[in-house]
Subunit: 231 residues, 2 copies
DNA sequence: TCTCATAGTGTCTTTTGTACATTAAAAACG
DNA sequence: CGTTTTTAATGTACAAAAGACACTATGAGA
C-alpha cells in the first residue's frame, strides 16, 4: 500500500521569506543580493535551508535573523513551491513565509551589517527562480488579510495617526480611500485607543496619535471566522 | 553568505490530501487504513511521497489516484507541516492539499478496489501523526472559501436543487440558514441556471433542478479580490 | 379528498456602505 | 499680529445588502 520509507527520494527544503515594510509612504520589499549569477545582479528573498532539528517557521525565522539581524518577527506561512526545475542546481522544495515590519524601526540594523536592502514594490529588480511568483502571491495574501484583520498595524510604529494608517492601506491596495469613510470604518472596530497626544512635525495642525488595544486585537484575531453569518 | 548546496540536509517530502465529500446529508472525509500501527487501527489521509520528477500538486494527484482511483480532482494547496518529530520514523515535510468531491459520483470506484473509506466529520477515528491538525485546518479553509466563492457546487451532482445546496452549506458551517434568505442570496449571484425539470422521489412536491452557469462561475473565480471596496 | 412533507415566495426593518463639503488648528510668512 | 497655507476632523443623506419573519403551493399516498 504505502511505499516504504527507505525507497524514497529526499530533497532539499528551502525557506524563503517575503518581508514587507512600510516607510510611511510606500510599500517596500526586503531583498538580498545573490552571488550565484555572474553578469547581471540578481536579488533574492530572504532564503536558506532547513536544518535537521528545525521546524519550518523556526527555520524561516533563523534565516531571517542571519540575513538581517531581525528577531521577533511574526512570520506567516504563505505557500510551498516545488516545481521539479524551480532550482536548476538541485531539486528543492521551498516553503514561503511572509512578514510585515515597520521599515523605520529596523532601518539601522538592516543596512549597516547586512546585504539586505529595501525596494519599492513598484521598482522590483529581477528576482531569483520563482521568487517573483512568491511575491505576487504574498501581495495578494497581504491584501486579503488586510480586509479581514486589522493586520496593517504591524507595519506602523506603536503610536500612529489615522492619516498614516490610511496611507498604509492605500499603499497596500494601490488605491485611495475617502478619509471620512475610512476613519469611520477603522474607528468602528473599537481596536484603537486615542491618545491625548498629537503627532508633531508632519502637519501644522497635528493629528491625534492612536495605539492598538491589544486585548481586543488578540480577540479579533482568534475569532477569525466570525464574519460568517449565523443566518 | 548563503550556505552551499552540498552541505545541506535532505529530507523526505510527503503529500497528504484532505478529501471532503458530501452525500446529500453530511459532510464526510475520505481516509485510508494504515498498516503501520499494530494494536489499534489508525487511519490516515491520502498520503505518499514526492517523486523526483513531480511537482507538488501533480504528486498529490498521483497519490490520490493510486489510493482511490480518482482522477481529475481539483486539488488546492492548504499548508505545509514540518515539525521535526511529526513523523517519528524519519524527518518528513508534508505538504497538505484538499479537495471536494461528490460522494455519490465516486462511491463505486472507491469502495470496490481500495482501502479508502468515508467517515462522517462528526465521527472521525484517530488519525496518523498530525493529520487531525491538517483536517481542522482544511475545514477552516473550506468554510472560508465557501463564503467567498460558490465553491460548494463541487460537492454536488451536476444537477441539484436549492434545498440540496442549502443542506450542503449547513453541513459545511454546522449551522442552519433561513431558506428564504439563503435562496435569495444564492440566486442573486446569477451563477445558477434553473432547469425545467424537477427532482423526483425525495419530496412529494419536487424541487426544481439547477445547474451552474460555468462561464460566469469561472469569471467569479478569477476575480477573487473583488470584494475589496474601491473606496 | 384529506393529510402530510417539502418547495417556494415577499415585506419590512436594520445595518452597512458610499458619496460628498465645511470647519478647525497651528505653523510660516509677510 | 493677522493672513496664508496645509493638514485634521467631522456629519448627513441616500443606496444597497442582510436579516427576521409566515403563509401558500404542490403532489404523493392513505
Amino acid at each position: 500500500m504505502l511505499e516504504q520509507y527507505q525507497a524514497q527520494v529526499k530533497c532539499l527544503v528551502a525557506l524563503d521569506s517575503i518581508i514587507f515594510g512600510f516607510d510611511g509612504d510606500e510599500l517596500k520589499l526586503l531583498l538580498v543580493k545573490r552571488g550565484i549569477e555572474e553578469n547581471d545582479v540578481t536579488w533574492s528573498l530572504m532564503g536558506g535551508w532547513l536544518r535537521p532539528d528545525e521546524g519550518l517557521e523556526e527555520s524561516a525565522a533563523r534565516i531571517l535573523f542571519q540575513l538581517t539581524g531581525l528577531t521577533n518577527i511574526y512570520l506567516e506561512q504563505l505557500y510551498s513551491f516545488g516545481a521539479p526545475q524551480r532550482d536548476p542546481v538541485e531539486r528543492t522544495v521551498a516553503v514561503a513565509y511572509f512578514a510585515l515590519i515597520n521599515v523605520n524601526d529596523y532601518q539601522e540594523k538592516i543596512s549597516d551589517s547586512y546585504e539586505a536592502q529595501w525596494f519599492s514594490m513598484h521598482e522590483l529588480p529581477n528576482l531569483l527562480f520563482d521568487h517573483r511568483q512568491m511575491v505576487d502571491m504574498a501581495i495578494r495574501q497581504l491584501r486579503y488579510k488586510a480586509t479581514q484583520h486589522p493586520i496593517g498595524f504591524e507595519l506602523l510604529p506603536e503610536k500612529f495617526t489615522i492619516p498614516q494608517l490610511q496611507k498604509l492601506y492605500e499603499a497596500i491596495f494601490a488605491t485611495t480611500f475617502d478619509k471620512r469613510n475610512f476613519s469611520r470604518k477603522i474607528l468602528s472596530t473599537n481596536l484603537l485607543i486615542k491618545l491625548d497626544e498629537k503627532q508633531k512635525g508632519f502637519s501644522k495642525k497635528g493629528a491625534y496619535l492612536y495605539i492598538v488595544d491589544n486585548t481586543r486585537y488578540q480577540q479579533q484575531f482568534n475569532s477569525f471566522l466570525n464574519f460568517i453569518s449565523s443566518n
